[in-house]
């Protein structure tokens, strides 16, 4: 059965280095999964295209018709690659808004690979002190290697090779997690399996 790999990129410029990193991570993960005999279909979400939908969701409390399938894709995915630019020492506001409107249970147990980009390598700890705790809160299973790419990683030959190595290692970790699990088939319908009222009356909510 083909697995689903959700890829969320919070880059703002076009083209963006955040998307570039997301694509490299995606390709590496697809390859690593293929080596493990697992077929996977990436579903890429560009948050920039949903910036207004996300703001509307904050105000109205529900996802509009454009945003709903995106939230369903992420909640139902077998794995997630999430990449954000680092702004003011943390994930971008757009990225956090997306996380804020996800169902609380949407990523419980989901294998997640985290990536971040910034203009300077001085931001790289944001991956570990901002992104990692956020996904720990969501009960996601985050792979040990997070991939940070600063401006210099895209150019200098030595740095660029190191980036490639980190991407390969992180993708391998994600692929190991996905290959070791059965497909999710996560139930997203809150009305499918009701708590019988007798149980509610007994205080078993």
């Amino acid at each position: 059965m083909t697995r689903t790999l959700a890829v969320v990129s919070a880059g703002l410029s076009v083209p963006s280095s955040t998307r570039l990193l997301a694509d490299r991570l995606t390709d590496a993960t697809v390859t690593a999964l293929a080596e493990r005999g697992v077929e996977v279909r990436p579903e890429v979400v560009e948050l920039r295209e949903h910036a207004r939908d996300l703001a509307d969701h904050l105000v109205t409390g529900f996802p509009n018709a454009a945003l709903r399938p995106v939230l369903d894709t992420v909640a139902g995915a077998d794995a997630l690659i999430a990449v954000t630019p680092i702004f003011s020492a943390s994930y971008s506001g757009l990225f956090k808004t997306f996380v804020d409107v996800l169902d609380r249970e949407a990523l419980t147990g989901t294998p997640v690979l985290l990536g971040a980009t910034a203009g300077s390598a001085r931001h790289q700890l944001a991956l570990d002190h901002a992104l990692r705790p956020l996904f720990a809160y969501l009960h996601a299973t985050v792979v040990p290697t997070g991939v940070f790419a600063a401006a210099e990683d895209w150019g200098a030959s030595g740095a660029s090779r190191e980036l490639g190595d980190r991407i390969t290692r992180a993708a391998g970790e994600l692929a190991d997690l996905v290959a070791g699990r059965s497909p999710t088939g996560r139930a997203t319908d809150p009305f499918a399996d009701p708590t019988p009222f007798e149980a509610l009356l007994r205080g078993e909510a």
Binding site: A55, T60, F62, N64, A65, D189, F191, P196, F197, L200
Partner: protein, 373 residues
Amino acid sequence: MQFGVFSVSDITPDPTTGRTPTEAERLQAVLRIAEKTEEVGLDVFALGEHHNPPFFSSSPTTTLAWIAARTQRLQLSTATTLITTNDPVKIAEDYAMLQHLAGGRVDLTLGRGNTGPVYPWFGQDIRQGIPLAIENYALLRRLWDSDVVDWEGRFRTPLQGFTSTPRPLDGVPPFVWHGSIRSPEIAEQAAYYGDGFFHNHIFWPADHTRRMVDFYRRRFEHYGHGDADRAIVGLGGQVFMRKNSQDAIREFRPYFDEAPVYGHGPSLEDFARETPLTVGSPQQVIDRTLGFREYVGDYQRQLFLVDHAGLPLKTVLEQLDILGEDVVPVLRREFAARKPAHVPDAPTHASLVAARDEALSQQTQQTQQEVTV
């Protein structure tokens, strides 16, 4: 089918003038709106309950009693009565009082309330919202259905030999609707008791309402109250009308853009597409409203929100005129033509008394037969 309006009692500045009505003005306006609801031939007026500004309606039964005294036919209801932060004993008393004063023209819609700070003001905790709604309603039912109640629960002091007074009019308590936007537990509660389920149907897309009502109907049948299509469903809805739809959009837009709940978010056009909001001609409102039954089935009560977001009283009264003259007569005819005969109407005091009497006489016949045998 019943048609009416519901008001949440918000005090909101009129964005076109910047003027905020006083509490006294808003309260008087709502009384006038309720009277007008009957004058234009609508059936139901429902009022919200809130305990924090910018709302004024802390005591809906007081207001509804005044309205009852000034009207003849109007069914009085709430949108909603807080089952979480009110003592169920006080709800049992207040609504039985109102029922007597209004000659039975009373039902109520229970809701949880979603404002965190309100709960501790009444000694409660919003995190217990669902358990409070479940326990408090179980007690409310006991207080209305039994003359003497011994009771002990988690959330209030125990009762020993307590009789809530006055007893419900003719021994039949007011009909209860359970309102919830998104909690399956509340739809489950409505289904379990065979009560009505009301969906606000304003803030969320139609597809969500469809799933929630469908769930309630399935569970209503599961609990043995009859086929799913006999369950009692009420919907909200939000409209603004002018003869010419472009005039309606132009006039309503500033109110929409500044509205307390969804303002400063989606455009009016986006929100009208995503939710049941209809801003346009009376015919557009008729067409959209008739479409509701295609996704919730044949239902019993349609309430419109027309009084909110700073709209001036004069405008609200004009909206009621349009509803009464151009919209509701057509809806009555068209809904009636589509409704199968076995789908019941919304319960009223008279129908509940008749149902109770019939059940009693069947019981008596059965007992007599047993005695004869």
